[in-house]
Symmetry: C2
Subunit: 348 residues, 2 copies
């Protein structure tokens, strides 16, 4: 059996109504849409068909119908018209901020505010290159390494040292570090490279160990998938997750960066569709405890080709239209910011 036009219309009405009300939708409700002009009995017959096809189910006999994951999927892919972009006010959303980190935090916040769902944003994952590296002497036992990578992501690393260095020594180290590291991508900085540097430097090799140790730590940290979240408490407002335990598990998951990294890596695997928006509905999520959630993510692009993800986690019954259009607008805005001004900072 195929979905004819009328079935599609009815399915769309059912899902749209359910998204609005949250109540199972009965045949009478649908029959009342006057552009349809069908009796409830006819709707019932169609509904029975749609149920057989797996698009809707009854939570129990003698209740209305609610969409299945398959139903949602069909709705998202084929039935939903997206909201007109017009209504989302642009450019007021994001204030100018200088640092990638702050910008992304703000994106998460804005998104949470606009959608009322839990949101998460990842920093672009790409071959970040070292833009600037500097070793400074804070006091006799302490060095400070500052590493700025493309995108103005800054990492600090305190490096405790045994030997007292004078300023000239530090200067030498700085020259050495910059010679080797400036412009290098973070992935390039590994033991091999470091051994090369050691050879070249000859003396100081004991101290060098400590310095490299610190720098590698900083680089690793900078290389981790950074995730910013906002609006986690919105999870408590999903009415469908009646179970407090489940809710709390979800919340904990949302507090745990590692879990989130996993989640994001799962979801960004397959990108196929329009404008890099991906929707994962219920069981489509490979992550545990997320069966009652939908995840919608969008991908933004850096001029260098690197990409990052912004996304929301909400209940399956969510306003997909709005979420998709909000995400789309935000990514466009982000793309703009990154592409207009190569680098994030520029004053208005």
């Amino acid at each position: 059996m195929e979905l004819d036009e009328r079935k599609k219309t009815i399915l769309k009405l059912i899902i749209a109504t359910y998204l609005e009300t949250g109540e199972p939708v009965g045949s009478r409700t649908i029959s009342k849409f006057n552009d349809l002009n069908l009796s409830s009995a006819t709707i019932r017959n169609e509904m029975a068909d749609l149920e057989e096809l797996g698009y809707i189910v009854q939570p129990h006999t003698s209740a209305g119908r609610i969409p299945t994951d398959k139903g949602y999927r069909f709705y998202v892919d084929n039935l939903m018209e997206e909201k007109e972009d017009a209504e989302v006010e642009k450019s007021t959303l994001l204030e100018r901020v200088d640092r990638m980190e702050l910008l992304l935090k703000q994106v998460a916040k804005v998104l949470a505010y606009n959608t009322n769902y839990a949101t998460l944003v990842t920093a672009p994952k790409y071959k970040k290159t070292v833009k600037f590296i500097q070793l400074s002497k804070v006091d006799d036992e302490t060095l400070l390494a500052v590493i700025v990578v493309e995108g103005n992501l800054i990492k600090n690393q305190i490096i405790p040292i045994d030997t007292i260095l004078d300023n000239e020594d530090v200067l030498k180290f700085n020259i050495l570090l910059n010679t080797f590291l400036q412009g290098a991508s973070l992935e390039d900085i590994n033991l091999e490279m470091i051994n090369a540097m050691k050879k070249q430097s000859g003396e100081y090799s004991i101290i060098l160990d400590q310095i490299f140790q610190g720098i590698i730590e900083a680089v690793n940290e900078a290389n981790e998938l950074e995730i910013y979240t906002s609006g986690a408490t919105n999870i408590l407002k999903y009415p469908e997750i009646g179970d407090i335990i489940k809710t709390s598990e979800l919340l904990e998951k949302f507090e745990d960066k590692e879990e989130l990294t996993h989640l994001i890596e799962e979801t960004t695997g397959n990108k196929d569709d329009n404008h890099d928006i991906q929707v994962y509905i219920g069981e489509e999520n490979a992550v545990q405890n997320m069966e009652d959630c939908s995840i919608v993510t969008a991908t933004y692009k850096m001029p260098e080709g690197a990409t990052g993800t912004i996304g929301i986690v909400g209940p399956k019954r969510m306003d997909y239209k709005k979420v998709v259009s909000t995400l789309k607008n935000l990514t466009i805005e982000l793309d703009d910011i990154f592409n207009k001004r190569k680098g994030v900072n520029e004053d208005g």
Copy 2:
């Protein structure tokens, strides 16, 4: 009417039992403690007295008794023996970490792990002095200011500039900045000081504006009361807060740094008692929506006399003994760390 010894004993047993079980405590339960040797009828009479005095109440007729805020207060002040310190393993709790920020985050985590409550930790609030300040040129339009203050708290600030500076200029600025700022307390850095610097420098005054702007921002940021939290989701596990809405409001409060600052400032006002442990029970909290919570805080001291707060937020029915002793141990450990090694970093 005064509390005689027997009444005290009975009150203590009631509260201890209630803390354990969470159920209202009946007269029979108490009469079974065999070191008491009293019938339930006698206990009932005593209970009636204790109720009249306001230490306990019945949630409803024909239920057992539960402690009032006044009851808890008396328990905490007079009846509770603290747990022996012995059982808390020391020194394994905190790994060595170099930066204040990381250390405090870890304290929050450890505390949450040990108590299963929501925890919060503030950075010491004191006249932080600038240990080290450095301006670097990242690229033609961007300077980076790095400020390290006592306690190895690091602030970075990106400063966009219009004019292209060469390295020599930057060096000059650095000398200027360090001459004025090194050793200065953050509070000292204000417009006045900056004007003095401007005068001294003469030329470059346009650029100086931008630089100072950035530095003041960084200083202000460093000067805010920094709060680290952990285990916020534990709030969901307080069984007594049946109301999901209240819980969610609490959680939101816990996500909101400003609210927390407010909370902390409220609670650290009056310090009176033993070892700087403060307990705020129920209505004693000046903060809204916290009537069903107790807050226990402890104060740790830096060698310079600065103090910070570590604390937990939990339900009124909490294991005060355990919380107090855990807090006590952690503060002692923190005090140790700060006082043994002046500054945080030192390798084992």
